[in-house]
């Protein structure tokens, strides 16, 4: 972040960054699946704040509505419904898994370091912000003018996936469940 950014935004950024990192650690390290899910919600909300700082209010709102809202409600719902008591004492990882974890972690870290060094040393937040890529108007223009065909194709893909999910659910519903009250 460049220094000419407003001090108020800097404060917001630092506080949110700390919360985001702590929440991310909780997602990975905490033993309780409900705490993991709640920490993930906090982390996703922090991402929305970062989008706001980058002058991308549309992305921020969508981030909260879709990820922190809709998707995580389903996650939390399923976790609460299953009431995963067993997960509080998970089996310890084997030796192979540990070695592979260290290896994968080191690989990802070096990838991140490489990517950051290749990019410019000062992260030009102001430039990104001033370009105004994140407003509704810009996003709408990209989606409905410049990339209309690919956008419509993606929606067809989603429709196919939805119909597929329904067909699979129907196949199981063929055998009547005595627990299910007839509507």
């Amino acid at each position: 972040m460049s220094l000419e950014a407003l001090p108020l935004e800097m404060i917001v950024f630092v506080v949110t960054a700390v919360v985001a990192v702590v929440a991310a650690l909780l997602v990975v390290l905490h033993r309780n699946p409900v705490v993991n899910a709640v920490a993930l919600i906090v982390n996703l909300a922090c991402l929305a704040v970062f989008f706001l700082l980058l002058r991308a209010p549309f992305l921020a709102a969508v981030q909260v509505i879709v990820y922190a809202g809709a998707i995580m409600v389903l996650f939390l719902f399923v976790i609460m419904l299953l009431d995963l008591k067993a997960e509080l004492h998970p089996p310890r990882a084997g030796a192979f898994q540990r070695v592979m974890a260290v290896f994968a972690g080191a690989a990802f870290l070096s990838l991140m370091v490489l990517a950051m060094r290749r990019s410019r040393s000062t992260f030009a937040m102001k430039e990104v912000a001033d370009a105004g890529h994140g407003t509704v108007e810009r996003v709408a223009e990209e989606m409905f003018r410049n990339h209309l065909v690919s956008f419509e194709l993606a929606s067809v893909l989603l429709l196919v996936a939805m119909v597929g999910a329904l067909v699979i659910a129907r196949a199981f519903a063929e055998t009547p469940d005595p627990q299910e009250p007839s509507a």
């Binding site: 209010p57 709102a61 939390l76 419904l81 009250p181």
Partner: protein
């Protein structure tokens, strides 16, 4: 910069005090209206007509013993009421209460933050609001609470969608996500109000509001006849009071939204004040009074419905959400789309 911050701070303080006062007195209104409907006096001991009852209730909540159940997951148990109340109060920030007033030559708009993402902001907060209830239900470590929390989750998923889709019609006509622009376009008489031009959208949104605020006939997360008190069974003292306040604050917020989105916001039904030649401040204050009257009407409607209708059964609630409200919202979308394409004058909106 500092002037902007001070202005925002003062507005937040004023609106917060107003909102919390309304919340306190909504409890009184609810008790009085229910009493009137059941032919009994209602609260009448504390102060004239029981008007000091909210104060007595508040003191009582403060002095009650604060219990954390042994089975509770303490950090999340403490977080849940805070989250619920914060989400309910935060929605208030984008609501435009009137056009603007002038103080010392400064033009001050009567919304805390009239952001250009107003509608999306409200939907985002609505989707976060349910977490307070779900977390409260799980963290209490009680099966009644858990059932309440799960129902809250399922209910909100079902009704949020209809609510969002019903707003797309308004968005298409307005061409802006800014709430003050939605209100501006409904100027000039009630036949310009979105409720009149898009009655189905208004109906779907209003029904979804009942589900979002967990009010009867959609109060299944609470359902005191089967779940004791649902998600807040294990809460006592001020923590319970926070859930209570959140429900009423949420009611005020959705009423204000309904008024701004569908009932013409601060506009009078028959007369455009902008043509009266009054000063900016006089118009602004009148706008505020008109808006407040519309909110008050909707709030009483909320109370009225609660003491009139019985609670839906769970499968009826789901059927209504998915098989009735959602198709209706989609039908409204088609109607608005065709209407704009055909150039229907009342759906002209921003192309007008």
């Amino acid at each position: 910069m500092t002037a902007v911050l001070i202005e925002a701070g003062v507005k937040v303080a004023v609106f917060l005090v107003l909102l919390l006062t309304v919340v306190a007195y909504m409890v009184w209104v609810e008790r009085k209206v229910s009493a009137a409907m059941q032919d009994r006096p209602g609260p009448n001991r504390v102060g004239p007509m029981g008007l000091l009852q909210p104060l007595a209730d508040g003191l009582k909540f403060l002095f009650k013993e604060d219990i954390v159940p042994a089975n509770a997951h303490k950090p999340l148990y403490l977080l849940a009421p805070v989250l619920t109340l914060a989400a309910a109060l935060a929605g208030f920030a984008v609501i435009p209460f009137g056009s603007s007033i002038e103080i010392g030559g400064r033009n001050i708009s009567l919304a805390i933050a009239d952001v250009n993402m107003g509608i999306l902001y409200v939907l985002a907060l609505g989707s976060l609001n349910v977490y307070g209830l779900m977390i409260a239900g799980w963290a209490s470590g009680s099966k009644y609470s858990l059932m309440g929390g799960l129902r809250a989750g399922a209910q909100v998923i079902s009704y949020e969608l209809s609510m969002g889709v019903s707003l797309i019609g308004v968005l298409m006509v307005t061409g802006s996500l800014r709430l003050s622009e939605v209100v501006q376009l409904q100027a000039g008489g009630f036949w310009h109000w979105n409720l009149v031009t898009q009655p189905i959208a208004g109906l779907v949104f209003f029904v979804a509001c009942f589900a979002e605020t967990n009010r009867l006939p959609f109060d299944l997360p609470e359902a005191e006849s089967e779940l004791v008190a649902g998600y807040h069974t294990e809460y006592s003292s001020m923590k319970f009071a926070m859930f209570f306040m959140a429900e009423y604050a949420h009611m005020v917020t959705v009423s204000a939204l309904m008024a701004a989105l569908f009932l013409g916001g601060w506009h009078l039904p028959f007369f455009d004040l902008q043509q009266a030649g009054w000063s900016v401040t006089a118009i602004g204050l009148t706008h505020m009074a008109v808006f407040a009257a519309k909110i008050a009407f909707l709030l009483v409607l909320f109370v009225w419905v609660r003491w009139t209708l019985p609670r839906f059964r769970y499968d009826q609630l789901m059927d209504l959400g998915w098989k009735v409200l959602f198709p209706l919202a989609l039908a409204n979308l088609v109607y608005v789309g065709i209407g704009i394409a055909m150039g229907l004058p009342w759906l002209g909106g921003f192309t007008r």
